[in-house]
Assembly symmetry: C2
Homo-oligomer: 354 residues x 2
């Protein structure tokens, strides 16, 4: 696993996800064909299975390495316990490669909780970060918004939400290339006195920081694209994410019911097929690869369980970018600067946002 | 304001909402024309304005009474403070009519917070209810689901969520005519150990009650129609409600963008117009009137700020039903039975659900 010059080394969990190892192996091959010598890719999992997939894809001659891992943490397994028990699971093996400095990033479409637990256990947190967060992309009228946390932390304190804001803004600026990203606190009223105890306390911290903080936003602001970074605890974020993911299917099935039996409408829908496809694509989370796990001492992208090869390929592109841009170093420096969270935060002189 | 036989008396806030008094007066007239002598309706607000609207609608000869109230609590005003200051506001006057036994129900499309504050101040809570809750209707693949609380309580305790479950189930059974309504706790994982501190504690209470409790549900379960009653705190509920309300507009605008410039798709969309209209109707909150405020010592329906006449009309139908079915009496009896919340709740012998 020698590192040649400036190559980014990425391990991909071949066993995670509903369509593994096919989707993951196919996505890895797609990623390799785009990035070529820029990256060194490692598929982690059952060697025989992976080899078979590579042969099937006529990609067994590519310089993609296989790292054997015989255990699999299934989607329904209890995360913390299975991570501790299945030492040779693809998730643990991939995470350990990163811990040992053999790869720079790890991608998994497996059990989200297990990826979280394994990353905390093996890689640990960045200095200055109390709680790593999962950041998800939401399509908006203006482009995309990053929402965090979407499930890593059910019960949060104000300083956690503040750190989510900082991490999200840095990711938005360096990876999504948003200049001076607007940060909003998800709440239930515009005024800073509106919300629950957590958001009222968090508002103060965010407001006294040097973030481009736009105050409280409401549920309808997410899709409107009012801000680039939406800060919330992982309980609220996870519910909103899962609700959002379900809306497209719901609306499609409702529309189909209304069309049924109406000849004109059916023909109309046929004529609209390309527009509908294009519409679905805009809502397709695969476009964005996966959700970065921010705040751990490493680079880790969590992909959706039903990730397509395209999603895996995009996750490879994003993680390459995260390593190149040294996103973790920037987060750590910024949060160590802001670490005295109990003191009122002064508007910082050194602006990193614009 | 004499009560003739079995007539239900309803006061309607003519000043609340974006299109007041037109929408409210028109909706009240629609409601009267359906229910006739079953109801006695009172429009509360500026007498001159209301009269003018009634004349415009050629409805000034109908037996709809006007109760003068010269003050208006605007949408942006601080609720508690404005309720205390504006004694003669339409909201306070309408609520007082109910307190004095002159009407049986009150409907407002005005400032939600002010309606809440005024109802608590003037009517108070039902015995056994710690926190009244606003219940909203969500369209689902199976019909509709009732979600509560959607904004009355930002920070809740387990017994509050338990009471929301009971109130929602009673409303679902008696007003929405659902037999043995399924109750779900909105959380971030199926297992009872998943969620935040609040939901884990609430799960225990709900599970040991005689409700048809189906355990935790996730964000995607709401639209799927997994349960009839979705229990959550008002912070989460309000964010989900506002997010949900924004999805249809977002999807429509996105679809329009994809159609633009494509002749076939444009023609297809034209052919689909009736289906689209029918689709929008299914998502239209006006179909359900408004959100009942459950747990106060009275009947109160909060309508959306931009309520159409149809929404007001439907709110009149629903509140008539709530009074006739004695929903409050059932809630109070049920919760007084369950009041010893600190003791483990036994499976009750007397089933009221099926």
């Amino acid at each position: 696993m020698a590192k040649s010059n400036n190559q980014i080394r990425i391990a991909i969990d071949a066993m995670g996800g509903d369509n593994s190892p096919f989707s993951v192996v196919a996505g890895t091959v797609m990623g390799y064909r785009i990035l070529r010598s820029e990256v060194k890719l490692f598929l982690v999992g059952d060697t025989q299975w992976i080899k078979k997939e590579l042969v099937g894809l006529k990609a067994d001659n590519l310089p993609i390495e296989i790292v054997d891992a015989q255990e699999v943490i299934e989607m329904g397994e209890e995360p913390a316990e299975s991570v501790r028990r299945k030492k040779r699971s693809s998730i643990n093996v991939g995470m350990t490669l990163q811990k040992e400095g053999k790869v720079d990033a790890f991608i998994s479409a497996g059990n989200t909780g297990a990826v979280m637990a394994s990353s905390l256990l093996i890689l640990g947190r960045l200095e200055g970060v109390d709680r790593p967060a999962i950041a998800a992309y939401f399509p908006t009228e203006e482009g995309i918004a990053l929402v965090l946390d979407v499930g890593a932390n059910s019960d949060c304190k104000a300083q956690h939400l503040f750190q989510f804001g900082v991490m999200g803004a840095i990711y938005s600026k360096y990876i999504l290339k948003v200049k001076n990203p607007k940060v909003g606190l998800l709440s239930i009223g515009e005024e800073q006195t509106k919300g629950n105890e957590l958001t009222i306390a968090s508002h103060k911290l965010l407001d006294s920081s040097d973030l481009n903080f736009r105050g409280n936003i409401e549920g309808f602001d997410i899709l409107k694209g009012t801000v680039d970074v939406v800060v919330c605890d992982g309980f609220v974020g996870n519910i909103i994410l899962k609700f959002a993911e379900s809306t497209e299917g719901f609306m499609t099935s409702l529309l189909k019911k209304k069309i049924r039996g109406n000849l004109f409408a059916t023909f109309g829908a046929f004529l609209m097929t390309p527009a509908f496809k294009c519409f679905k694509q805009s809502l397709d989370y695969a476009e964005y690869g996966g959700a970065p796990l921010l705040g751990i001492n490493g680079v880790c992208i969590i992909c959706h369980g039903n990730s397509s090869p395209k999603a895996i390929k995009n996750a490879i592109l994003v993680s390459t970018d995260m390593v190149r841009k040294k996103v973790n170093k920037i987060i750590q420096e910024k949060l160590q600067e802001d670490i005295a969270i109990s003191k009122p935060l002064s508007k910082k002189v050194r602006k990193i946002w614009s």
